[in-house]
């Protein structure tokens, strides 16, 4: 009888420990990659931001990525390349580049090289779905 009680309490303890550990996980992240082209050229240095459609915690850090020389980006939320939680997203793209061509040019502030609609999640028309496993989002081809 005593033995059974001991086994029962051990089982309860194990179950509680598993439950506690599961609580620490939070949303799971899966690696996400994709490509952004403007016309047929890669939008190098553009900032891609994934806005969750049903935001559980407004103000939470959004998954984002910077487009590389080949047009690809990898999403980061907390540490480099960790990706995004699975779900549906609206996507915005802004492409801030400097106007300075040489050191002797007068100061000029950087400009967004893409139309303003791509910066607004409601108007950009870009959407993506992140699955449970590593996801490659279909290529976004934008018009300048």
């Amino acid at each position: 009888m005593v033995r059974r009680a001991a086994r029962l309490s051990a089982l309860t303890f194990a179950a509680a420990a598993v439950a506690a550990l599961a609580g620490c996980g939070g949303p799971k992240f899966t690696p996400v990659t994709g490509k952004v082209l403007v016309g047929d050229a890669p939008a190098e240095h553009a900032t891609v931001v994934f806005h969750p459609v049903n935001e559980a915690a407004p103000g939470a850090v959004k998954p984002r990525g910077t487009v590389g020389a080949d047009g690809t980006y990898t999403l980061t939320t907390h540490t480099a390349g960790d990706g995004a939680p699975p779900g549906d997203y609206k996507v915005t793209v802004e492409w801030w580049l400097t106007g300075m061509k040489s050191v002797a040019d007068p100061e000029s502030p950087p400009k967004n090289r893409l139309p303003a609609k791509y910066a607004d999640p409601a108007q950009s028309g870009l959407t993506a779905t992140v699955g449970a496993g590593p996801t490659e989002v279909p290529t976004f081809t934008l018009k300048k």
């Binding site: 240095h45 540490t79 480099a80 390349g81 802004e94 801030w96 400097t98 300075m100 007068p106």
Partner: protein
């Protein structure tokens, strides 16, 4: 009697004495290290107080704060605010050694700009080196002396694009006082306007003036040296004489490798600009971020002359509120 007289310690006694001494030294050493770091941090704060006095003393006779506005002629000349306040830091000879009609990298200016300046070296940092050089079209070589302090122009548009910092202009409200509501020109040091104390609508005590970005142009991430500066990989910034040693707030991921991100302090001292110059994103601006070698945060001078220790856990939105001089926001608790 003489049969029982002991002539020496036994081995056990000796070992016990050595063990006790070892325990005492073990208790003492970490305390000594902590005191050394505390002293270095205070010395680092004192440097910021000196810079604050210099900036304030410059303000009244010159009708505004020292700025990074480029001289109109000849083109391509860059002079940093620190150069203008040198006479107010009792560095008159150094000030006279810099010809403001030539760039800081000119061989005639390098004897002055390559001089180490104690008031811009934070003792906690691996400082006291001549590590920074001129960007292309000149050949990059370490010619000028480092400074560990940084002033902030404003907020990078990428950080606002990622929703990390909400900008008043996004809701159709332009930030008062910031020219055109430009987030990049919202801070206490300007490349376009000669700012006076009256322009700080948020209040002098709520606006950040100078803080730390140590270890540049080498790249540090989370306390470790990640990249040693070369022509092809380095932070644009470091030399105390360079306007590019001032920065815009971008923020990074927690590991300090991707930009923009939610970490504002102590994740990395800047972004690698590679070899293309002017950089496609930064242009000729510096790519530094706020970084110190103190545990838990960085020292910061506010425009009113006060110096505070900012915790590295600070929310990036709160940090942005401290940077803007006329954002109209409440910085909240920090």
């Amino acid at each position: 009697m003489s049969r029982f007289r002991r002539s020496a310690f036994t081995l056990i006694e000796l070992l016990v004495v050595i063990a006790i001494i070892a325990v005492l030294v073990g208790l003492l050493l970490p305390a000594v290290q902590k005191v050394r770091e505390a002293a270095a941090r205070m010395s680092c704060q004192n440097n910021l107080h000196q810079l604050g006095l210099g900036l304030h003393n410059y303000h009244d006779p010159n009708g505004g704060l020292a700025s990074n506005i480029r001289p109109p002629t000849p083109p391509g000349i860059r002079v940093r605010w620190l150069t203008f306040i040198l006479p107010y830091l009792e560095q008159e000879p150094l000030y006279r050694g810099i010809n403001q009609n030539l760039n800081w990298s000119d061989p005639l200016n390098v004897p002055a700009t390559g001089t180490r300046l104690k008031v811009v070296e934070c003792p906690s940092a691996p400082n006291g080196q001549i590590l920074d050089g001129a960007p292309p079209p000149e050949t990059w070589a370490p010619i000028v002396a480092n400074g560990d302090y940084v002033s902030i122009y404003g907020i990078d548009p990428r950080t606002i694009a990622a929703g990390l910092v909400r900008w008043a202009g996004q809701d159709g409200v332009s930030a008062p006082g910031a020219p055109g509501g430009n987030p990049l020109e919202s801070g206490a040091v300007s490349k376009t306007a000669k700012l006076r104390f009256a322009d700080f609508y948020d209040g002098l005590s709520n606006t950040l003036h100078v803080t730390e970005s140590a270890g540049r142009p080498n790249i540090y991430r989370q306390g470790r040296l990640a990249v040693t500066a070369t022509t092809g990989n380095r932070i644009n910034g470091g030399g105390w004489c360079r306007p590019a040693s001032d920065m815009r707030l971008v923020g990074s991921s927690a590991d300090g490798t991707t930009f923009p991100g939610p970490c504002a302090i102590n994740c990395t001292n800047g972004q690698d600009i590679g070899s293309a110059y002017p950089h496609p994103v930064y242009g000729v601006d510096g790519s530094s971020q706020v970084y110190s070698f103190h545990t838990g945060g960085a020292n910061a001078l506010f425009v009113d002359g006060s110096v505070k220790f900012l915790r590295q856990t600070i929310d990036i939105q709160t940090f942005a509120a401290l940077i803007t001089r006329a954002g109209g926001e409440l910085p909240g608790d920090y």
